[in-house]
C-alpha cells in the first residue's frame, strides 16, 4: 500500500494558485476601504492600496481568460473542475448527514468522492462571487482612471454590488484558509495543493470513494492526469 496518493495534477494546482494568490491580495487591498488610516496613504497623490488593487484587478481580469484556456486544455484540470461542480445524490446525503450529526442525531456517512458537498458549495459560491467581482471590478477600474465613461449613479450601484460580493467572499476565504492550514482534521489537504500528493490514511478518512479509485490508479501506475 502506498503511503501517499496523487491528488492534484500540476494543471489543477496552477489553476488554484493563479486564482488564489491574486484574489487574496485583492481581498486584502480591498479591505483597506474600511481602514481610514490605510486607505489614504499615498505617494504623490496616488493612493497606494487603491492603485495596487486596481492594477492587480485589471491585470487579473485581462490575464484570466487566456490562462483558463491554456489550463483547461489539460485533461486533469477539466476533470477536477467537473468533479468540483458536479452535484450528485451523495452530495445531498452528505449535507444531510452533517446536519443530522450537528443536531446530535445518528447518521451514517455516505461515501465521498474527490470533493465533498461542502467543498462543492464553497466552490460554487466562490466562483460566482469572483465572476461578479471581476465584472463589477472592471467597471470600477475603468472609472478609477476616467470618471467620464460611466454615469455616477451606475458606478455607485456597481460599487455597492462589488462590496456585497466581496463581503460574501470574505468568510468563504477565511473558512477555506482555516480548513486548509489550521484545522488539524483537514489541513492535510493543503499538501495536495502544494506537492500534489496527500497521505493515503487521510484520503481514506475524508474521501473514501476517491481514495479507492486513486489507490487503484496508483497500482496501475497511472499518474493523476490519466485517472
Amino acid at each position: 500500500m502506498p503511503e501517499f496518493l496523487d491528488r492534484f495534477a500540476p494543471s489543477t494546482r496552477v489553476l488554484h494558485w493563479l486564482v488564489a494568490i491574486p484574489v487574496l491580495i485583492l481581498m486584502l487591498t480591498g479591505l483597506t476601504n474600511f481602514w481610514p488610516e490605510a486607505k489614504t496613504l499615498h505617494l504623490g497623490g496616488a493612493r497606494i492600496f487603491a492603485w495596487l488593487h486596481v492594477l492587480l484587478g485589471l491585470g487579473f481580469a485581462v490575464a484570466l481568460l487566456p490562462s483558463l484556456l491554456a489550463i483547461f486544455s489539460r485533461r486533469a484540470a477539466r476533470r477536477d473542475a467537473r468533479e468540483l461542480l458536479l452535484v450528485r445524490l451523495d452530495d445531498y446525503l452528505w449535507l444531510q448527514h452533517r446536519a443530522l450529526r450537528a443536531a446530535g442525531l445518528r447518521s451514517i456517512a455516505p461515501r465521498v468522492g474527490k470533493f465533498n458537498a461542502g467543498q462543492k458549495v464553497n466552490a460554487a459560491l466562490a466562483t460566482t462571487a469572483i465572476i461578479v467581482l471581476i465584472g463589477t471590478g472592471v467597471v470600477l477600474g475603468v472609472n478609477f482612471w476616467n470618471k467620464n465613461v460611466f454615469d455616477v449613479d451606475l458606478v455607485a450601484a456597481v460599487f455597492r454590488w462589488h462590496t456585497v460580493l466581496s463581503l460574501l467572499l470574505l468568510p468563504l476565504i477565511v473558512g477555506h484558509l482555516y480548513m486548509a492550514a489550521l484545522n488539524p482534521e483537514t489541513r492535510e489537504s493543503l499538501r495536495g495543493m502544494t506537492s500534489g500528493r496527500v497521505r493515503r490514511a487521510w484520503a481514506e478518512r475524508h474521501h473514501d470513494a476517491w481514495a479507492e479509485r486513486a489507490r487503484e490508479a496508483s497500482r496501475r501506475g497511472a499518474g493523476p492526469d490519466r485517472r
Binding site: 497623490g45 496616488a46 450537528a102 446530535g104 456517512a109 465533498n116 455616477v152 449613479d153 460599487f159 463581503l167
Partner: protein
C-alpha cells in the same frame, strides 16, 4: 471532513447525554443566529453607509468653548463665529446625494446648515475676491472653489447630518457641502473660509487631482 470516530458502545446507547448535547447545540445555533443577525446589520452599514477618508493626523477634536469659524480674506466685514453663532444664522435644510470620487454614494443625505451665499452676503466679498479656500481644523486638509461655484444654491456650511449634529468622524462641528462635486471638495472639521484673488490648490489637487471635480450624472 469526516466522521467522528464511532462512540464506544456504552456511550452510543445513552440517549440522555445525546439529548443534552443536542439541546446545547440548539442553543448554540440560536446564539449563532443572533450574532449573525447583529453582524448583518453591521455588514449592511458597511455596504450602504458612509466610509471615512482623512489625511489629518487623527481626527481633529472640536472644542465648543474655543471653536471659531473665521471668514476672512478679501472681504469688507471679516467674521469670527463661535459654534452657537454659526447655528443661529439663517439655516436651510437640504437633501442631496453624496458622491465620493472612489465610487460610493450615500443617497438622500439630509443636511442642515448655512448657505455659502448667505455667509458671503454677511461678509461682503471685495471685487478682487474670485476664489474661496476652506480650511480644516487639523491644519492639513483644505480645498477651494471659485466664488461662482461656491455661490451655487446647493453649497452649504453644514452642521447637522440627518437631523443630528455632525459626529467627529463625519467632520464636527461643520463641513462644506458641494453636492455637484465629489466629496473631496468638501473639507470636514471646517474652521476657516478664506476669500482670495487666486485659487489656492487643495490637498489632493496639489497632488494632481482634478480642481473642478464635477459629478457627471444623467440624473
Amino acid at each position: 471532513m469526516s466522521d467522528e470516530p464511532r462512540p464506544p458502545p456504552g456511550e452510543s446507547g445513552a440517549p440522555r447525554s445525546r439529548r443534552l448535547l443536542s439541546r446545547a447545540r440548539f442553543l448554540g445555533l440560536l446564539a449563532g443566529g443572533a450574532a449573525l443577525g447583529a453582524l448583518s446589520t453591521r455588514v449592511f452599514g458597511l455596504v450602504d453607509g458612509w466610509r471615512e477618508n482623512t489625511v489629518e493626523d487623527g481626527r481633529p477634536v472640536f472644542d465648543r468653548a474655543t471653536y471659531r469659524l473665521t471668514v476672512d480674506g478679501l472681504v469688507a466685514r471679516p467674521l469670527s463665529l463661535d459654534y452657537d453663532s454659526l447655528r443661529s444664522l439663517p439655516a436651510v435644510r437640504q437633501v442631496s446625494d453624496f458622491h465620493c470620487v472612489e465610487g460610493w454614494r450615500v443617497p438622500n443625505v439630509r443636511w442642515d446648515g448655512v448657505r455659502f451665499q448667505s455667509l458671503a452676503e454677511l461678509v461682503g466679498p471685495l471685487p478682487d475676491a474670485r476664489y474661496v479656500t476652506f480650511h480644516s481644523l487639523g491644519g492639513v486638509y483644505r480645498d477651494s472653489l471659485s466664488l461662482t461655484q461656491a455661490r451655487l444654491p446647493g453649497v452649504l456650511i453644514a452642521y447637522d447630518l440627518d437631523g443630528a449634529p455632525l459626529s467627529r468622524v463625519r467632520g464636527a462641528p461643520a463641513r462644506l457641502v458641494m453636492p455637484r462635486m465629489f466629496g473631496y471638495k468638501g473639507p470636514k472639521w471646517l474652521t476657516r473660509v478664506e476669500f482670495r484673488d487666486r485659487q489656492d490648490l487643495g490637498y489632493w489637487e496639489q497632488r494632481g487631482w482634478r480642481v473642478d471635480a464635477w459629478i457627471r450624472s444623467s440624473g
